[in-house]
């Protein structure tokens, strides 16, 4: 059975939603406080959304200095699967586990809405078999505008690190489909190894039909299947 650690920082607010949603796909979960994170024996670590440390300094900046991020880095280096959503994506970028930075939405608005995004990479445990699919998920953020210098943007595109791209219902990456001004409509990225993924939308909030959609479940199911065919990190180490 997949063992998933869900990190909780002061100000995290989506950890119980992830806990619930992973229960629907048969994963064993544990919510872990950021000062006590020991990821040995876990298959995956989730960095949920929220407002860690009140978004002071910058979204995700203070969490970067938490002991949890040191442990996350060790876990990721050993090949452990890591998913950051919303504030979790911001934390992973601040920590340098993913490229670029998430800045204020160009419209200055906090966007709470549904978006569509195309899965552009299946070289991650979270998107196996989903390449080319268009997923519909909710967003809720004020700092989701992904940006980076030109060389980084070029590398991200060339190396196929874009995992999710905002598109319209016909699959076109138009400015209108981009909720926050992200460069090249980028909604989510992976690292070179493919084991670390971040995205602004919330898969945990669209995992039951009663919530308006179930596309998030496909991301969580992908992880459960992927780690079901690979040994846990502790067994490898």
């Amino acid at each position: 059975m997949a063992r998933v650690a869900i990190l909780r920082f002061p100000g995290t607010w989506s950890e119980r939603d992830f806990d619930h949603a992973f229960g629907l796909v048969g994963a064993e979960t544990e919510i872990v406080w950021h000062e006590d994170v020991d990821l040995r024996g876990f298959d995956a670590a989730i960095v949920p959304g929220g407002f860690s440390y009140g978004d002071y300094v910058r979204a995700g900046a203070i969490a970067r200095l938490s002991p949890a991020v040191r442990e996350l880095r060790r876990f990721a280096d050993a090949g452990g699967a890591v998913l950051g959503s919303c504030n979790g994506f911001q934390i992973l970028c601040e920590a340098g586990l993913l490229p670029g930075a998430l800045t204020r939405n160009t419209g200055l608005e906090f966007r709470c809405d549904w978006v569509r995004m195309r899965v552009e990479s299946d070289a991650t445990p979270f998107t196996r078999g989903l390449r080319g699919e268009i997923l519909r998920m909710p967003i809720a953020h004020g700092e989701g505008c992904w940006t980076a210098d030109e060389a980084t943007v070029a590398r991200v595109e060339r190396r196929g690190l874009v995992v999710f791209r905002y598109v319209d219902e016909r699959g076109a990456a138009t400015p209108a489909a981009n909720p926050n001004g992200s460069v090249a409509n980028i909604a989510g990225l992976r690292n070179e190894g493919g084991n670390v993924v971040g995205l602004m939308p919330h898969p945990e909030r669209c995992s039951e039909a009663i919530l308006g959609g179930t596309d998030g479940l496909r991301v969580l199911q992908s992880l459960v299947r992927a780690v079901g065919t690979a040994p846990a990190e502790a067994a490898v180490a």
């Binding site: 910058r58 203070i62 200095l65 800045t103 940006t147 210098d149």
Partner: protein, 82 residues
């Protein structure tokens, strides 16, 4: 010795500053000839260090490690004895 370091953080010139754009729009309505606005923030830190050079190095490290994000922001330091 005790120092006061003022760390100024601002978006890099090539990075969009939507807050600055919003302020520009508002200031324009005052008709004062404003043509561009860039916003940033200022963090004032009081610290102990053996000398000015060490204090400056410590403040620079604060900028690099936490106060500014090198992907999108620059910072500068004003240092004085406190």
């Amino acid at each position: 010795m005790r120092f006061r370091a003022t760390i100024h953080v601002r978006p890099k010139p090539e990075v969009r500053d939507p807050q600055g754009e919003a302020v520009l729009g508002a200031l324009s309505s005052l008709g004062l000839g404003v043509s561009a606005v860039r916003t940033g923030k200022e963090i004032v830190v009081t610290l102990e260090a053996p000398d000015e050079r060490a204090a400056r190095e410590a403040a620079a490290r604060m900028g690099q490690e936490l106060l500014a994000n090198p992907v999108v922001e620059d910072f500068s330091i004003d240092l004085s004895a406190a």
